[in-house]
Structure formats: C-alpha cells, structure tokens
C-alpha cells in the first residue's frame, strides 16, 4: 500500500475531549493503478485544501507514515496518534478513462462509519488539472457527517487558532514566539498553537544536539519534523597565526557544547613574510599548544565568542638542535575570539591571542625578532617577552 510520505498530522494533544473537530486525511491507491507518487501527493493536497476551505472550523491534516492495510481500526489508531477524531480515507483509482474516488469517513468519537461512497469523474485527471480539481462532493460528505455544533467558527471568517505539531527527538525543548515552550514527549511530539495565518519561528534545544531555529508559515494545522544534529565531541581547526604561520588544532569537549581542551601545533617551518624581499620564511620552530576554553554563547548565533587559556612549548627541529628551544621553552597564551556563522559543521573564526614567552637567557629573545625595526606589539623584560598584538584567523570543523 502506498502512503504519502509527507505527513502533516494535527496536534498531539488529546482531541477527543476538544470541542474542535480534527480530520485526518489518508490517501492511497490500489496497487498498480497508474498514479505517480507526485500525482498522488498533489491530489492529496488538493483534497486537503478543499476540505480546509470548505469546512469552516475543521482542522485537517494528512497522514504520515505507512500502514499495512487501511482498515478502520488501523486508521482510527493513526488518527488518534495524530490527534484527530475523524478520519477520511480516500482511495483513488484510474480505470477505463474514468477516475474513481472511494471515500470512507469515520467518526472516531462516535466510533461510527459516517459514509462509504464512490465518487466518479468521467475522465482521467491530468497532472495539470489535479491541483484545481473541485472536491465539493467530498466536502459535502464530510460536512454532512459532522454536526454543526462540532465545527467551531463555522461561518466566522478571519484568523483561527491552528496547531503546530513538532516532531523531534524526545526531550527536545521547543520555544516559540513570546517564550511559549513545549517539550517533546517520549513519542517525540510536541504541540503549540498559534493564530493562523502567520509566520513563526521555533527554537529547539536538546542537550547533546546542536540548537535549531526554524521559521514556518502556518495557514492551518501542520506538523514539522526537526532534523537535529548530534553535537560533535571533536573539532578541528586550520588557521593562520599572525596571518603567516599555519596552525592545526584538535579540540575535545569536556562539557558538550561548552568547555573543551585543545591540542595544537603552530609551525614556523613555512610562513608568509610580507616583506619587500621575501614572500616566505622558514624557521625550524614548531609550537605545541595545550589549551582549555569555553564558549560564552550558544552555538546557533552568528557570532559565538569564546575564550582560551593555555601553554605552548617551542620545539626546535634543526641539525644539531632537536628539542625544546634553549632560549625560550614556550609560555602562556590567552585568546578571545569568535566563531562566525551558524553552520554546525564548520565556521570561520577570528581570535585575538596575546602570548607570553618565558625567556631563559636575558637579552637574547628580542634579537630573535630580527635586525629590522622593532615590530609593533612586543614588550620585553629580563625573563620574558609579550606579544600583545597577535591574531589568528581560520576555519573550524566539527568532526
């Protein structure tokens, strides 16, 4: 049995006690009856729109998921799960140049089959005509099956309260406009009501997953599925220190999405020089860096600041000298930066990273910077040096 893949069920809260009627539309076709998946989808939408427009006060949704057989019991279960109290099963078949619609309507509240009819069109419905097909006969069947008292707001045009059903991982906190909140239950559903039509934004958070923000336009009851991405425990940075020296860092979160430790290297073996006489520099020095850091904002913001604090070790790899730099073993570095972007998979980052160097032999370190003009951003003491105009730009991948 073919079942429409794109389901928009009504609210998950119990509707059996609600005065408003909610109809679940379930469309399929007999095996090998010629309608393509897209045609069946368009027909279903066409029927859904006709019912919504034609039966005031009736919330209509179409079914998600598949059933082995469209038996009343199965469809009633499906309707209950979708929060509906009436189901309409429509089976479409095209045969002999005619289109037939076998429609059954069942009142779940009353546990009563309200109608079982076959409606015929004297021609095959072309794909072009499908969206514009009038389903007044179906609307009429439904209207006649529901008492006028069941249909709230019937005959009163204007904004209506609709239900947005959110399907997400159980436990997800959904925050809507005005701070309205709902949390998905064990079944993974949560419902929020909004005046329709209107455009709304939802923010979903769940520990262990990246926060998610989605915008929707609501004209009627609707279900949305939030595809949540598990938060990475690992991240990889590729960056340039001082616009010239490549760095690679691997981060491991200690507290997911917040506190992390980072191990990296910055090599001066290949660097950009930006001088009149050189384009590249090469020095047999590599810094090993161990840091810990914390993000200061959630990770679904455009600019996500963070701070790092760590130490670096200077390793010299040159003929005759292999090991920790005899002049300066390394030092401490602090960085404050921001990631730029919203993608959970990767973002640019930019950070300000002042560095403190421990100097073993007084007076030599500044000469390591070369004989030219004193570079800006450095200060020196007998036991150390500070580079307080140090920046890093790069890209960070979540692994």
């Amino acid at each position: 049995m073919f079942v429409l893949p794109l389901g928009l069920p009504a609210q998950a809260s119990s509707s059996l006690s609600s005065p408003q009627r909610n109809l679940l539309l379930y469309v399929d076709q007999p095996p090998k009856r010629g309608l393509s998946e897209n045609q069946l989808l368009v027909l279903s939408r066409s029927l859904l729109i006709s019912l919504q427009a034609g039966v005031q006060g009736l919330a209509v949704s179409d079914a998600a998921g598949t059933v082995q057989s469209a038996s009343p019991a199965t469809l009633s279960d499906l309707a209950l799960k979708a929060g509906a109290d009436f189901w309409l099963w429509a089976q479409v078949s095209v045969d002999g140049g005619k289109t037939q619609l076998h429609a059954r309507g069942f009142d779940v509240r009353a546990q009563e089959m309200k109608f079982d009819a076959t409606l015929t069109r004297e021609s095959e419905l072309s794909p072009v005509e499908l969206p514009f097909e009038k389903w007044d006969d179906v609307v009429s069947l439904v209207t006649s099956s529901l008492s006028s008292g069941d249909l709230q707001g019937q005959g009163t045009p204007g904004p209506q309260e609709v239900i947005l059903t959110v399907r997400a991982i159980p436990g997800t906190l959904i925050t809507g406009p005005g701070g309205t909140k709902a949390r998905t239950g064990k079944d993974g559903f949560a419902s929020l009501s909004f005046p329709a039509p209107g455009e709304y934004s939802l923010h979903a958070t769940l520990s262990g997953y990246y926060p998610l923000t989605r915008r929707f336009f609501l004209s009627g009851n609707r279900e949305v599925f939030l595809e949540q991405t598990p938060h990475s425990w690992w991240a990889l940075d590729a960056s340039l220190l001082e616009m010239g020296y490549p760095s690679f860092d691997v981060s491991r979160f200690i507290l997911l999405n917040s506190l992390y430790v980072k191990l990296g290297i910055t090599t001066y073996a290949v660097g950009l020089a930006f001088t009149d006489t050189q384009a590249f520099t090469s020095n047999p020095l590599t810094n090993l860096v161990l840091q810990t850091g914390i993000y200061l904002r959630p990770d679904d913001v455009l600019f996500r600041p963070y701070v790092n604090l760590g130490a670096f070790l200077r390793i010299v790899v040159a003929p005759g000298t292999l090991g920790i730099d005899p002049l300066s073993w390394g030092g401490l570095q602090f960085s404050i930066g921001t990631e730029i972007g919203r993608s959970p998979r990767g973002r640019f980052f930019f950070e300000y990273q002042p560095m403190l160097y421990a100097v073993n032999v007084p007076g030599l370190f500044q000469a390591s910077l070369g004989s030219g003009n004193s570079p800006s951003g450095w200060s020196f003491s007998s036991n150390g040096a500070a580079n307080y105009l140090c920046f890093r730009v790069g890209y960070r991948w979540a692994l």
Binding site: A318, T321, F350, P362, L364, S371, G372, F391
Partner: protein
C-alpha cells in the same frame, strides 16, 4: 552588508600583524643552550651599526673585545669591535659607553678562505688594542701596531703606526743567526701579571727553512727588544709540516711545558685540511696530533687546545700521544674573545652580537677555563 562587516576584523588583523616576524632565530637559540652555563658579564650597546661601520646581521662576523683594565680584570664599558665582513674586510673600532670614538680602523681584506689575517687583542691598560698581522710574510704585511682610543679627544688612532716584526727579530739575541726574519705565527698567552701578557712568536729566516721561537711582552708600551729565545738560538727545520711559504699557521707556546703547537692549513704533510703539530726540546722532535682534527684557536692555561672552527667549540688534550677530543659544544652566534685572567682566575670570554631594532648590542659572557669542558656535557 553582513559580508562586508565580517571582513572588517579580518582586514584589521591583516593590517596589524602582516609585518610581524617569527619570534625565533636558530643561531641565537642554539647559542642560548651554551649561554645558560656561562656567566653574563654585561652588555655593550645598543649602538647604531652604521656608527661602527658595520654592515648587517647577515654579512657581519663581529666580536666585541672588552678592555683588560690593567687591574686584573676587564671592563665592558669600553672595548673594541672587531668585524670580519667578507665585503668590506676587517676593521676594528673603539667604543666606550656605547659611543664610537674616532674612525673605525681598516685592517685589510679577508683572505680567500675568509680566515682573519690579523690577531686583535686588548692590552692591559686603558683603551689600547694590539693588532698583529703575520699571515703574510712579505715585509710590508708582517707587522703589528698598538692603537689607542681617547673618549675625551674623540679619537682612535695609532701614534706609532704599523711596525714591522723584522725589527724585533733581526736583533740580538736572534741575530745571529736570523738576519732577515719573518713572523710566521704569533700568539698571546694570558699572564696573571695585571700589567702585561706574553706574546710568543714563531719566525724564520726568509728564504730558508731555519725557524726560531721567541717571547715578547705585550703591554700598553710598544714592544721592545730583546726578545727571549724559547728554544735556544739554534735554528731548526719544521718546514716539513709548516711549509716553505707558510701563510696559514697558528702558533702557540706553552711556557709551563715548553711545548710548541702549530695549526697549519694545507700543510705539505696534510694538504687541504687543518692539521696540528707539536714539538719539544731544543733540537725539536715533532709529531702530528692526528687526534686534533680542527683548527686551533687558543692554547689555554690549562694546557688544552681550543678550537672554534665552524662555530663549534672543541677542547682537546694535546698531551696524549696524538691528542684527543675532550669536549665539544655548539657556539653558534657566540664568538670567542680570548682567555684572560679575572681576579687571578683564568677565564674564557665570549661575546654575541645581537641585532635588533636597527641597532646592535654585544653580550659578554665568561666561564672559568677549568670549567670549559662542562659545556660539552
């Protein structure tokens, strides 16, 4: 608009840091390993390298020679900057309290193998330096001078000028037998006496294979004959390893053991390399120190030989049958100044030129000679 905003911090960073050099210099870092075990005596500078006629960090091989103060010590406040620039040649400048006085004194071009053709040492006195030129045995290039700096007058010159070495060889007690002597090698050996050091000369009768050795005192006063024969006045022939036209000979004499050493480039017995030889006795018996396989730059008061060839420090014991290596350590940017007595302790001096912010400074370090070998540990 957002993209433009994002570019602002990146552009700012690029502007701020584009010219930042790497905080590393291999030679300086390598020298730091040794410097950690030396005693820092002080710094001369910073100075404008142009004021002492220096080129740049790449081209210059330069050493700061602090003054021997004439009171059994040294002073960093004044000294002499001796540079060996392959382009502009060798020169020596007088510096006091980071100011150059007088004009840098040109000494001459480097030899083709860029080995200095001069020996420059401060003299135990105020603001005097002595320069020997002996690698070229032709008379006009076989000479010495004492130059004096005077901060008050703002001068640095040599009142006596260059004086040929022959003047001190062709007189008694070396004449006879030497009538036309040429210096082959000269070394200065530190003496505990606060007023003078000893210089030892190896010379020969021009055009012959007759060699002799002599001693002359070095002080602020001009060298005066007579010299003291070291091994009698009977000439002997060491041309088999020194060579008939010896030019690259470094000569040392140990007054304690009466052993003579030469370090010879391109010896007839060992062409194309530095070879080292020793001889003893009045009628010398000699031998090659095959275990000493680098140029020797000093005979230390400990009796050991010290090499700085290739900017690697090597200490050799020359008393074993063929000489043996005792310690080796990298010097990198450190330059050996010489061995001096400081408060009665024989001490090795080193300097390192530090170029920064378009200025040059010289750090001066020391280590007691008796501890020199520990640098190799």
């Amino acid at each position: 608009m957002k993209r433009i905003l994002r570019l602002i911090p990146l552009s700012l960073a690029l502007f701020l840091v584009a010219c930042s050099p790497p905080p590393f210099n291999l030679a300086i870092s390598q020298s730091a390993r040794i410097i950690k075990n030396l005693t820092y005596l002080g710094q001369a500078g910073p100075m404008d390298p142009n004021s002492i006629n220096l080129g740049n960090q790449v081209s210059e091989d330069v050493v700061f020679i602090p003054e021997k103060d004439g009171m059994g010590g040294i002073t960093i406040q004044s000294g002499f900057v001796y540079s060996m620039d392959p382009m502009s040649g060798q020169q020596v400048s007088f510096v006091s309290n980071n100011v150059r006085y007088g004009s840098p004194m040109p000494l001459g071009p480097l030899s083709s193998d860029q080995f200095p053709s001069f020996m420059v040492q401060s003299v135990k006195s105020t603001h005097n330096v002595i320069v020997f030129q002996y690698f070229d045995p032709t008379p006009q290039n076989n000479q010495y001078m004492i130059a004096t700096g005077d901060p008050n007058a703002g001068t640095f010159n040599s009142p006596g000028g260059w004086i040929v070495l022959t003047n001190f060889i062709n007189v008694a007690p070396f004449n006879p037998p030497i009538t036309n002597g040429r210096g082959i090698g000269v070394s200065i050996y530190p003496d505990p006496n606060p007023a003078l050091d000893r210089s030892y000369w190896l010379f020969r009768q021009s055009g012959t294979n007759n060699y002799l050795e002599g001693e002359f005192d070095v002080s602020q006063n001009p060298i005066t004959p007579p010299g003291i024969p070291l091994r009698g006045i009977a000439p002997y022939d060491i041309s088999s390893f020194v060579g008939n036209l010896a030019k690259r000979v470094l000569y040392y004499f140990n007054p304690v053991t009466a052993r003579s050493y030469v370090s010879v480039w391109n010896s007839p017995a060992s062409p194309g390399v530095w070879s080292n030889w020793v001889w003893i006795d009045a009628v010398p018996t000699n031998g090659q120190l095959t275990g000493v396989d680098h140029r020797i730059d000093a005979l230390l008061t400990s009796g050991e030989l010290f090499s700085t060839e290739g900017n690697i420090g090597r200490v050799f014991d020359p008393t074993t049958p063929t000489g043996s290596l005792e310690a080796t350590f990298p010097l990198s940017d450190l330059r050996f100044i010489g061995e001096v007595y400081i408060s009665g302790t024989a001490t090795m001096l080193f300097s390192e030129a530090l170029w920064y912010n378009r200025q040059v400074s010289f750090n001066v370090y020391s280590i007691p000679t008796s501890q020199l070998k520990t640098l190799g540990q």
